[in-house]
Symmetry: D2
Subunit: 319 residues, 4 copies
């Protein structure tokens, strides 16, 4: 836009984006009597030459958000959903290459996992047997898988991750040797519960169409496995230490990933004081804890492959 | 209370109850290096001779809600938590038998399931091996298990259940042959997705201390299994039919249960019309669906063992 | 249904209902440049001769839930929305009188209030002045108004209410003189915060078309006012006492109402112990409190006009 | 930290922060019988020399999150809460200046507004009159006020804002003249509802202790007023245009603010097609709308004072 095309006002347009958020798309694939399911929540965000619509309400450069929604559903049929990442790549490429005013597309996807329902050996007579039940699912309900694809016409950025994965070590966690100021009352702990709700994101070093694309499904499974094992196998002196172990285990084992960021709320489990009732409550004997909601410690950090630059936003929680 | 002890006002006290809700208690049991976890949310509700406190603010008959909270934690240590049901029975008996003014106790419990984290074969060197990791858990995150124990000093009522269990059949569901009035526009469906979020409650016929108590843990697992199998194995002509099959399968297979009630939202998955984009979207080929939030069909019914009386409240959702 | 028409199985159908829940309907009424808004969430639940659909999947008696949704929108246009109660009465009457198998209809409605945005005196030039802005609203965001209409073809039951109304007295609340058992550790309080999130329901004594219908809008405003004033003006020795005062004030002032039920969580505000930091924290000087989430006391009771029977369900919270 | 102090591993620590989130603090101030309330949710986040704790679990530089919680409550008593911004400034300055390893503090605060309950003229006899009721409040329940204070020992950054403010224009909104590609099916609209749930943040140009500090309370009220008036008074051709008007009105009227960012979901209200039921549903006569949940258009942009740099993060929603 030329300078003359904006209003003679002190307020100018800065960074902006728009699109349709939370398109809930379910794709069933039939392989004979065996069905497969992909269950996604897709959010499209586009940016580019959008001065006119903000300053004057001219929609000449605006592809409607309704159209971006339609595109999500049409692409699910045309291309299928091989993985959330691959699906997002299809969509981002389409918007940037098909619409001249659109310079960058960012696709965010949540994926919900489903498991098959195990049916009885013989089925229930006339209503069918085990074969027919290959179309029956129960939502896994554990973590939500995430990905964010950003494309500017040349370079790809893929950040995948998960949220809402709650984990606990019932021992092998201590916390002592910390700074004590006039507001410090916390007693040191030598055997405590360490629990958190993992929110993690990891950035792939795949950035260009000329590079070999990662196996997105396998990568997710492996990252998740290493992360959980690092959590379980770390004797923890602080949640920060555990966080670093989780991130470094991923960096060391998964060459396709250069950066990991975690936001780990410390889900406090407080030992209940049962002395007033004549009861001991020692951790060594198996103890009773109060699981607190708020406030909670919040530990956030990025772990990088040596030489990589941090690109995952510092704040994954809302401003 | 004598009639003279209430104020000379037109408004009188009706049914009432009080207690401490949502006591979050986690109990760890240590079996050598192997830990076990019980993770509950316990709500206590008491009723009895409570006219004075309502009419005049006299707390002479009121055991504080804070005390009921303390009791929950103390009992978790004294008796352990064998099952949510057994724990609730301990608590209900205590309040009714130890406090003269308390005539009835009702204990509601939510239980969250945890799975063990599988650790790597060799552990991570100095921080331990597989043995040590028997204290590491990930929250299962699927349904929430429920129970409600009511005791009036003589008779027990145990209603257990679950909520938030999302299930789907991607085929074997039809809906046609229904009433059509002037406001009917719905086309008949011969191959649709049937999905719901199961909220179920089931009442045990165990009511007295002289009867053999059910195996609460086994019962839950079996009810859940039969319910899921009935959902998967029913070729459905309506969600009502599926609901009846789920309930009757439980009644037929679990002699300890006399009544089941389900509240089943029909989680609509609408076939997307892709014709404007030149695409077919037939269920037979694997289709693309829009997963809708609101509104939703809501199907609720009680299934009874022949001869049993319905006692589970009709409305499990909020008034 | 004749006995022969049910399957030869041990499980029989008990109480049941079905319909479309959470139909979000917004009705704008234009009075020249001044617009009015009604913003409702309508849930329809029907019951009647529904054995066939549960036992055999025959939908011959089933008016689709989709049709009930269409009816909600069509009636909003045909009859307008004078009040949530009046709108629910139109709907309930329609379903029971137009569909022979439907014996009872229950309509639940949530209503969200909006306020007008005050505009500047002169407007903003070409985009209009104060007149034009009579179509601009901000959602009030305080309580959600509720009603439930039940009709069986002869008798009406109307229960209205509200939820999510958070109130606080920062003094004039005490709690002492309660029962102390071995699990009691709570210190007595002579000046505490009393806060709750009001969930209330009240039943009208209007039950038949031959009676004069209440002014639903005025009734709601008056009930709300009396309830809030009773909360504010009661010097409280227990939340139960405050609850009774709130209910009795309604019964005494509103002749159209025979029964009130409240579910009042005690939103605990704990005085923070600041002694370790050399600070007093006395209520008399203005104190600092920790606002806790869980657990919370929960006080529930019905207040009745003398001679009336309790009909509002004891449990307004989920089973 | 010297290079030798980190482990010989490929993964290095990047940006990190830690603290206690969601400290719920309520401060009552007594002015005779008239009480005042400040109700905040305070989150503390600190960063600095934290390599050792991540790499080795040494807490020697770690002020416990529990201590930061204690500090919040102690400061509420010591300094009172004049405004959320002023309170955050006290806290941030304390952490950075009192702890050598802490280089930056970020304080986020949510504030919940309360209104006084209007009491009856005469009170209720012995339980008090209007004077006593100056301690009775009802939570306003509209928007949540926000602020974020960041301090690095030299420079202040204050970003305030709000969320959850739902607004609607029932007319004076159009949408047409947009791009049409093969996936476009949306019909043009010449009279539609425009509704959104405002999430806004604005950055102050106050950055140093030598500058005069803004009047935080007055600023908030004025920004909110201008924003609402701009929404109401704009004849809208696109939500982007309305967004720009809202931002520019703030920039033009409030000299203390250099940058505004909005995230505006387009809360779609779809005209219901009532033709199948023989009904017209024209906007000019007052129409019936379906208020949709998902998907929704999402419009996000920054409005800057000419010459200012954008510093508010582009993504206020979760990654």
């Amino acid at each position: 836009m030329t300078a003359s095309s904006r209003p003679a006002r002190p307020a100018i347009l800065g960074p902006n984006q728009y699109g349709k958020a939370e398109n809930r798309v379910v794709k069933i694939t039939r392989d004979g009597a065996t069905h497969h399911i992909k269950d996604l929540n897709v959010s499209v965000s586009l940016s580019g030459d959008m001065d006119e619509v903000h300053y004057f309400g001219s929609n000449a450069n605006v592809l409607p958000t309704d159209t971006t929604k339609n595109t999500v559903y049409a692409f699910a049929k045309e291309y299928g959903i091989e993985s959330a990442e691959q699906f997002g790549i299809h969509l981002a490429r389409h918007f940037v290459t098909s619409q001249e005013p659109i310079k960058t597309a960012r696709i965010r996807i949540e994926e919900y996992a489903w498991e098959r329902i195990e049916t009885s050996d013989a089925g229930s007579g006339s209503t069918g047997g085990a074969d027919e039940a290959r179309h029956s699912f129960v939502r896994k309900g554990q973590e939500t898988r995430l990905t964010q694809i950003t494309y500017d016409g040349e370079t790809w950025e893929v950040i995948s991750g998960l949220k809402d994965l709650v984990v606990m070590n019932s021992t092998n966690s201590e916390f002592w040797g910390y700074v004590k100021d006039k507001y410090t009352t916390l007693p040191e702990a030598y055997d405590r519960i360490l629990a958190t709700e993992v929110s993690g994101r990891w950035r792939f070093n795949w950035t260009g169409d000329e590079q070999k694309m990662p196996d997105w499904e396998k990568s997710y499974d492996q990252v998740r496995k290493h992360m959980l094992q690092a959590f379980a196998e770390t004797y923890s002196l602080s949640l920060q230490q555990t966080l670093y172990q989780m991130g470094s285990r991923i960096i060391e084992n998964r060459g396709e990933i250069d950066e990991v960021r975690f936001s780990l709320p410390n889900k406090h489990h407080f030992l209940v004081d049962l002395k007033p009732f004549g009861l001991e409550n020692d951790t060594a004997d198996g103890a009773v804890y109060f699981a607190a909601d708020r406030p909670y410690g919040l530990i956030e950090a990025t772990i990088l492959r040596d030489g990589a630059e941090p690109r995952i936003p510092v704040d994954m929680t809302n401003l």
